[in-house]
Subunit: 113 residues, 2 copies
DNA sequence: AAAGATACATAAGAATTAGATGTATTAAAA
DNA sequence: TTTTAATACATCTAATTCTTATGTATCTTT
């Protein structure tokens, strides 16, 4: 990761919920690779961070899981529950709002896509 | 604070360095109030977070201090050292870059000032 | 056959911040 | 005039979150 790791703190759940809102179902490893791809290697989600997060989301009822076997290998898919979809929208809104505030506070100019 | 507190993690040093780069010298309490004012109460820097951060910056040689007495009350001013000025610029650049990445990843549209 | 990629997961430790608490002075309000 | 709120410093415990290390196992490519 090119950034100070602290910057990512607090954004992981939002990232996961957003990806799941765009993809119906994804498995853990796929999420790490997708983030890597979408950020051109700038953000690397580590598995040690991701799996506890996914389990927490599941415990909170925001995602549901289904196991699939690829040969003998287990693959665990995660999907958004209705509550998860709502939570994702809210988290995204909150992050956007936070960024607006930071941009104003620090007088910086991000370039949008 | 209106935001999930985790979001602020990793940005506090950047905020402090940026404010000091705009103000020559500030004291702790002033910093908390300035952030509150500039963000219209959206971000509240707690003293429990700020003072350890200021002390860390001082230990790293990024800020220098001078004590002043207002009547009998102590006031401790913090100023950027040359190294602090450089570090502040770099932190700001990093945060901007990180935000660009997050904006692209999450496909969000912050509104700039 | 070995190495690298895929895929799950846990656990210890580091880092950062919130919240509580403490001290003390000064100004404003009751 | 008393007490409350604001100013101003600071520390400490606990909570949270992530990194790093480790572990297991399968599949694919060299």
């Amino acid at each position: 990761m090119t950034y100070s790791p602290e910057l990512l703190k607090g954004t992981l759940k939002t990232i996961v919920l957003k990806l799941l809102s765009d993809h119906k179902k994804m498995y853990g490893y796929e999420i790490t690779q997708k983030v890597k791809e979408l950020t051109r290697d700038k953000i690397q989600i580590t598995e040690g961070a991701l799996y506890p997060t996914l389990h927490a989301l599941e415990a909170d009822g925001l995602v549901t899981t289904e196991v699939e076997y690829i040969g003998k290998r287990v693959r665990k898919y995660y999907s958004l529950s209705p509550a998860g979809r709502t939570a994702g929208r809210e988290k995204l809104k909150e992050l956007t709002n936070f960024m607006d505030t930071m941009i104003a506070l620090l007088d910086i100019k991000p370039k949008m896509a």
